[in-house]
Symmetry: C2
DNA sequence: GTCTATAGTTTGATAGAC
DNA sequence: GTCTATCAAACTATAGAC
C-alpha cells in the first residue's frame, strides 16, 4: 500500500519510490515466512521469533514493518481472502444451474482443503482475540457478494438456500480435515453432495 | 456432591473409601472449574492458575489430582464424549427411517451448538499438541458405533452414506457457530437438511 | 493435600546504539 | 531499518515445608 501511494508521486523522487518498493518487498517476505511457520507449527503457535528467523531477521526488526503480531495475522487474513477472491473471479459461470453449483462446491472444497493454516485463519475461531480489520475483511465480503451473484444468475436467490449451500460445503471440508486430512474420504462425496443440494432447492434436472 | 459419595459407603474400610471418594470429588470440582474457565476464555486460553483460582486452590495443588495440564484436557475430552454417549444412549430410535435421521440430526445439532468450549474440545484441532488418551477416546468410539447401529437399524449401512450424514450435520453446526453464534440461522435449516439427506440416500417417503 | 517459593521457559514488545 | 539488550509478563511444573 505504501508502494502504491509512493508510485502516485509524480515527479522525480526515484529514491522514495525505491524505498517504498523495498518496504513492500520486506512485508511480503515476512508474510511468506509467517505462512510457512503457520503451516509447519499451526496458526495458533506462530511466534515472532520463528517468523523473523525464517526471514533472516531478528524479532524486533519485524516491528519496522508491522505494528504488532495481530497486524501480521490481519494481513494474512486479508491475503488469504484476496487469494480466494481471485479464484472466484476466475470462475467462468456455466449457464446450467446444476453445473454452476457443482463448480462452486468443487472450487471451495479444493481451496479450503489444500491448506489447513489458511483455512483456519480464514474462518477464524482458532486464533483467540483476533478480529480482522475492516480493510482486510473487505475481500471476504466481496467473495460472498460474488457468490450471491453467481447463484442469483441461475435463479437461486433465497438466502436460506445459500445458507444451506454453505453448510453442505463447509461440512465436507470440516469432516475432511477432522477425520481424514490429506485423504479423499469426503472429497469423493463432493459431487454427490452437490447433486443432493441441487435436488433439495429444486434445480431442474440436466439433459443427458 | 461429597454428601452423595458418603452415602454410598456401605461397610468397613471407611477410611480408604472415604479418601478415594474425596479424591474423586476434588477431581470433579477441578474439572467443573476447568469447563467454566474454558467457556469464559476459550478452550485454548485455559490456564492452570485460573482453574485453581476458581476451585479455591493454588495452581501447584492441581498436580495432586492431575499429572499435567494435558491430563486435564484429556479428562475433559472424555467427559464431553461420555456426556454425548449418555444423550445418544437415551435416544429411543423411531422405526421410521426418516424420523430416525431427523432425530439424529436434531440431537447432534442441539448438543454441538449448546456449548462452544465442549464442541471445540470434542472435535479437537483447536488445542495444539493434544491427543486424547486411549481411555478417554473410547466413549467417542462407542458413540460412533452407536450411530452406526441406529442407522443400520433403518437400513442405512453404506459407509459413504454415513460420511455424508456427518458432513451435513457438522456443516450446519460449523456455520451456526461461525456466522451466527447464539442465533438460529442454521438451526432453522436442520429439518430441511435432514430431509435433503434422506432424499439423497433414497429413504422412502413417510406416509402422511 | 495444600501451601510458598521458585526454577526454567517462552512470549510480545520496547529502548537505544549504529 | 536492523541490531543487541532487555523488560515485563505470562506460563507449566517441581521442591520441600507443614
Amino acid at each position: 500500500m505504501c508502494a502504491v501511494s509512493h508510485s502516485l508521486i509524480v515527479l522525480g523522487k526515484t529514491t522514495v519510490s525505491w524505498q517504498g518498493k523495498r518496504r513492500e518487498g520486506a512485508r511480503r517476505e515476512i508474510l511468506a515466512s509467517a505462512w510457512a511457520v503457520a503451516r509447519e507449527h499451526g496458526v495458533a503457535a506462530l511466534t515472532l521469533r520463528q517468523v523473523a528467523e525464517r526471514v533472516g531477521m531478528r524479532a524486533p526488526s519485524l516491528y519496522s514493518h508491522f505494528d504488532s503480531k495481530h497486524a501480521i495475522y490481519d494481513a494474512m487474513f486479508g491475503e488469504a481472502w484476496a487469494e480466494f477472491e481471485q479464484v472466484m473471479g476466475a470462475v467462468v459461470p456455466p449457464s446450467s444451474p446444476r453445473a454452476l453449483v457443482r463448480l462452486m462446491c468443487r472450487t471451495f472444497f479444493e481451496f479450503a482443503t489444500s491448506d489447513l493454516a489458511r483455512h483456519q485463519l480464514m474462518n477464524i475461531r482458532t486464533v483467540p482475540d483476533f478480529t480482522p480489520s475492516e480493510e482486510n475483511y473487505r475481500p471476504a465480503v466481496r467473495v460472498y457478494e460474488r457468490m450471491t451473484e453467481l447463484f442469483a444468475g441461475v435463479g437461486v436467490a433465497d438466502p436460506a438456500d445459500l445458507d444451506l449451500y454453505t453448510a453442505v460445503v463447509s461440512g465436507l471440508v470440516d469432516q475432511q480435515w477432522a477425520n481424514d486430512p490429506g485423504g479423499t474420504r469426503w472429497a469423493r462425496l463432493v459431487d454427490r453432495a452437490s447433486d443432493m443440494y441441487a435436488d433439495a432447492i429444486g434445480l431442474p434436472e440436466e439433459p443427458t
